[in-house]
């Protein structure tokens, strides 16, 4: 189950419209496997929707992370520096990556809601 109140991108990032926190979904962490490293942007950096802001790494794969909506980095999740495995265990809670100031809330409307994202994941799985 994915959190109802979040919005989702096709590249498997989620954003909590209430807090501006961004992470990767349970599906994404499952595909990548055991996380070993997170590459963060700098606090204060500004990105447009769809920009690469960092990456998450497992032993054998690296996946770029894209901002679902435009914004400025307000905070990064320091806990992941010492324990990136939190992403594997709690992708939607303590495994958040960055928190942003959302520049244009209207951009949220272009993202999938929970139901649409679950349908999208199911369709992707069926393809493989």
């Amino acid at each position: 189950m994915v959190p109802e109140s979040f919005k989702y991108a096709k590249s498997h990032e989620w954003i909590d419209p209430a807090t501006g926190k961004i992470g990767i979904s349970d599906t994404a962490q499952d595909q990548l496997g055991d996380m070993v490293f997170v590459e963060f942007p700098e606090v204060g950096e500004e990105f447009s929707k769809g920009d690469r802001f960092g990456s998450v790494e497992s032993v054998k794969a690296v996946s770029d992370c894209y901002l679902p909506v435009s914004g400025k980095i307000k905070m990064i999740n320091d806990d992941l520096l010492a324990a990136p495995e939190i992403i594997n265990h709690e992708p939607f809670e303590n495994g958040w990556l960055v928190q942003i100031d959302i520049k244009d809330p209207a951009e949220l409307d272009g993202l999938m809601d929970a139901a649409a994202y679950e349908k999208f994941v199911a369709e992707e799985a069926a393809k493989h």
Binding site: F37, E39, V59, K60, A61, V62
Partner: protein, 448 residues
């Protein structure tokens, strides 16, 4: 040619039968017939092993070698004694016929050697982390410059001192040009060190890294801390290159002087000159830049049962995973040379490195004094390690011809790389092989 191809005719026949092919040629039917070579290669006929050995000895005999001549030639490639142990370890074929250690359970020997090599290079340079080695120093300098560009993404210029080895500069310039980074040189002062005023003038917020070599191409020991401070003040990184790592037996390591990246050539550490290759590059940096480093890394971990062991790690930096966005296209190191260096450093140890470095310095110092007595001074006033350029009373090339008669290969005519010097300037190098007799002969010949 059967000794390396063990299948018998009967083997081939049985295999073709299992495959269901009429002949070996039929296995090449997927190549259109007009694309086949259709003739034997135009190469010399095969040689027996004794004939090959005779030919190779004949070719080897056509070269001067440090086996029977004294070399006063350095310039980035040094004639040092190689302890017998090294080749006995290198010819353990479990080491030299193995591939890159992708299967750690079958490669713990190589992986532990890498880890020990990494440790000893860190200890020698005073740096936090190193990789498992590079091709050579020239490509390591180029990779370090590109790494500085990755760390400081908004800066695109590299400053390099003209006292860095001319070939390191040439290679670096080419690498940077291809990825669109700027390259600029900084001249040298009368002491043979980087021109600090010129450096200060060229340092601005476009500079990602400053590259200095120490001891530099003129053998002069740079004041790295001063150059590092200047670079850091301008927000740039300081990259130190070392072509004679033996110097670190006595010289203050760059890690204690503010270097951010240290690269070098470790040929002096138990690797034959071999006409310039294969040699060994090393690459060290500060902990915080670890993930921007190119090349292989061995890291410690545990096995399923909790026993300590080693694996290649941080592979996500590498080309086979990150592909076009890898830290480098490099996908190997010079592992067998790194093994040689690891054995060498182990044999020399804490005391041996210091003693040997001191001996090299002593020989060079003696030569300096002998030359001074004859009125010849080093071209620069800065302190030097085991080589220095000197102005001779006659052309370096003609001195070298005369020296050869005395079984000495003389130094490098400096104007080969620095046209501002005349043909009388020679870069000479003195190692543990330079006997007092050879040094005296050299001094006599140059004044003859």
């Amino acid at each position: 040619m059967r000794r390396y191809i063990p299948n018998t005719d009967a083997d081939r026949e049985a295999m073709l039968k299992e495959i269901g092919a009429s002949s070996v040629e039929a296995l090449f039917a997927d190549i259109p017939s007009d694309e086949l070579l259709g003739r034997p290669l135009g190469l010399p006929a095969s040689l027996s092993e004794p004939d090959l050995v005779a030919l190779m000895k004949q070719l080897a005999a056509q070269n001067a070698s440090a086996d029977d001549l004294t070399y006063l030639l350095g310039a980035g490639c040094y004639s040092h004694y190689i302890p017998s142990v090294i080749d006995h370890v290198l010819t353990r074929s479990e080491f030299y016929t193995a591939y890159t250690p992708y299967q750690p359970e079958l490669s713990q020997g190589t992986l532990q050697v890498m880890f020990e090599f990494q440790t000893m290079i860190c200890q020698l340079t005073g740096m936090d982390v190193t990789n498992a080695s590079m091709y050579d120093c020239s490509t390591a300098v180029a990779e370090a410059a590109m790494m500085a560009g990755r760390i400081l993404r908004k800066r695109s210029k590299i400053l390099i001192c003209r006292t860095a080895h001319p070939e390191y500069r040439a290679v670096t310039k080419g690498y940077l040009a291809r990825i669109g980074m700027d390259y600029e040189e900084v001249g040298f002062d009368t002491d043979g060190r980087i021109d600090r005023a010129e450096l200060a003038g060229k340092l601005d917020d476009s500079v990602a890294g400053v590259i200095v070599q120490s001891p530099n191409f003129f053998g002069v020991i740079e004041e790295i801390a001063i150059v590092a401070d200047a670079a850091h003040e301008a927000g740039a990184l300081l990259i130190d290159a070392i072509s004679e790592p033996l110097s670190l037996g006595i010289l203050k390591p760059p890690g204690e002087q503010g270097a951010d990246i240290v690269v070098g050539q470790a040929q002096s550490l138990g690797i034959p000159m071999s006409f310039g290759g294969p040699h060994l590059g090393f690459f060290a940096c500060r902990q915080k830049f670890m993930r921007q480093m190119p090349g292989r890394l061995s890291g410690r971990t545990v096995d399923h049962d909790g026993r300590p062991g080693f694996v290649m790690t941080l592979a996500t930096r590498e080309q086979h995973i990150r592909r076009a966005r890898a830290t480098s296209n490099i996908c190997t190191n010079h592992q067998l040379c790194a093994l040689a260096a690891a054995v060498y450093m182990t044999l020399m140890g804490k005391e041996g490195m210091r003693e040997l470095a001191s001996l090299n310095l002593l020989k060079a110092d003696y030569a300096k004094k002998q030359l001074a007595q004859r009125g010849m001074q080093p071209l620069f006033t800065g302190p030097t390690f085991n080589e220095f350029p000197v102005g001779l009373p006659r052309p370096a090339a003609s001195v070298n011809e005369a020296l050869l008669e005395k079984k000495i290969v003389g130094g490098l005519p400096l104007n080969r790389f620095y046209p501002e010097f005349d043909e009388k300037a020679m870069l000479v190098c003195f190692t543990e092989f330079s006997s007092a007799e050879a040094i005296d002969t050299f001094c006599e010949e140059v004044t003859r």
